[in-house]
């Protein structure tokens, strides 16, 4: 489940193999310590009672309207079902990160932080693989995953998304300002259908140069 050294170097901005020694050493040390990382969870719910509204670029799921906006809408126009998901790396990495920072070990704190971000992304990738496999058995395909707060989709719409996940699903809670707790968590939707497909990210349509998914290679 843990990301490799190269993935972490890249997440910190380095080309693989170019991070200074204390950084790669710490990555290794912290990774060994976190081998058994409890609390990593990824869950989804699939909905078939959905409608797409092309004029508004919205998706209606069991009567709740999501304003996903044009970029995401264009990727899910042929969807027949929608999976809503939430994933988390759990509270531990965040706690370790804060503790190290407080104790003055800033670099170690940062390494935990970046590992947490990558772990939750890996958990979401694995969830997508599982979703793809399950859809495949029914002759269907899946789209990429899309998250509120990206590609114009308002981050506050996470409140609607969470309304489908009662009872502290995955032990993630959402604050009024739409911040998930634990911090190392992601939420979103994936389209499912016979005629949908996984594409490379549509980065040329978006003007966010800082996005983590920008020009990221997609797993097919």
């Amino acid at each position: 489940m843990l990301p490799g050294v190269e993935a972490l170097e890249r997440a910190m901005g380095y080309l693989p193999g170019t991070a200074p020694e204390p950084v790669t050493e710490l990555i290794q040390e912290v990774s060994e310590e976190l081998v058994i990382l409890d609390g990593v969870k990824a869950e989804y719910r699939i909905f078939s009672n959905i409608r797409l509204w092309p004029e508004d670029k919205t998706v209606e799921i069991e009567g709740v309207i999501f304003h996903v906006k044009p970029i995401i809408y264009s990727q899910i126009t042929d969807t027949e079902e929608v999976a809503l998901f939430i994933c988390t790396a759990g509270p531990l990495v965040g706690e370790m990160s804060r503790r190290s920072m407080k104790e003055g070990d800033l670099l170690r704190g940062y390494v935990y932080d970046v590992i947490g971000s990558e772990v939750v992304e890996c958990a979401a990738d694995n969830m997508q693989d599982e979703l793809k496999r399950a859809a495949g058995t029914r002759g269907m395909h899946i789209t990429n995953r899309f998250s509120p707060g990206y590609c114009g989709w308002d981050v506050a719409e996470q409140h609607k998304l969470f309304s489908f996940f009662k009872d502290n699903f995955c032990d993630i809670t959402l604050t009024p300002s739409a911040l998930m707790n634990p911090v190392k968590s992601v939420s979103g939707l994936t389209g499912i259908g016979r005629n949908v497909r996984y594409t490379s990210y549509q980065c040329h349509k978006c003007d966010d140069n800082n996005c983590i998914y920008r020009n990221r290679k997609t797993k097919a």
């Binding site: 380095y14 707060g149 300002s177």
Partner: protein, 222 residues
């Protein structure tokens, strides 16, 4: 003497904390920022000179390299750690009032937001530029900012927000601060914040990275 200051400066820039730090390899088994600062003070160099001629230039080079994507967050944190080891010796002079800083910077992540790494980096770099930094942490209420600003008249305020939802809280905090102190300087930053947003909410300056914040402070301190 300048050679000693130069050595301190290099130790800080490359994150050589003390004798025990193995990195960078070229400085292995040599004294680091911690020991060299003590030596400088003991041989009569004033804390102000150490700050001005060793620490500030080192952190400024770090900030510039970071803005140019030549180094990344880890190296900035390593430099900050070396700077802190030097500060251990300098702090008593600030506390006693013997040495003065360039001003006070109050920083925090706005209410409803828990992101802190970016804000911490800004705080470190501003401390490295010779300012006193009061870090209020995350999820800081407008009242807390106002209360702290009252304690430090003339302080510059820095606000961080990482979500579009909490940018709204940033707007509210700026409006409230402006009400009580019209001329207070307010700096804003964080991934979704833009120069346009900064203008719209009436803050004084937006910077995408710590170096821009340092340069803004420099421009108003003169």
């Amino acid at each position: 003497m300048t050679e000693l200051l130069e050595r301190i400066s290099i130790c800080v820039e490359f994150g050589k904390v003390d004798l025990k730090s193995p990195y960078p390899p070229a400085l292995k088994d040599q004294q680091g920022a911690f020991e060299l600062t003590r030596i400088a003070l003991d041989s009569g160099v004033s804390p102000g000179v150490i700050l001005e001629e060793a620490l500030i230039p080192a952190m400024s080079r770090v900030g510039e390299k970071f803005s140019r994507n030549e180094i990344f967050v880890p190296q900035m944190l390593m430099a900050a750690k070396a700077m802190n080891s030097s500060m251990i010796h300098l702090r008593p002079f600030y506390l006693s009032g013997e040495t003065r800083r360039k001003g006070t910077f109050i920083v925090g992540t706005v209410t409803g937001d828990l992101h802190d790494i970016g804000k911490n980096l800004v705080a470190m770099m501003i401390e490295g530029a010779g300012w006193e930094v009061i870090d209020l942490g995350v999820d800081v209420s407008t009242e807390k900012f106002i209360e702290t600003a009252d304690k430090y008249p003339g302080a510059v305020i820095g606000l961080s927000a990482l979500l579009t939802t909490t940018m709204e809280n940033m707007r509210k905090t700026v409006a409230s601060l402006r009400e009580i102190r019209h001329s207070m300087k307010i700096l804003v930053g964080g991934a979704p914040v833009t120069p346009e947003f900064c203008v719209k909410i009436g803050a004084d300056h937006y910077s995408p990275d710590p170096q821009g914040a340092v340069e803004f402070l420099k421009s108003i301190a003169q």
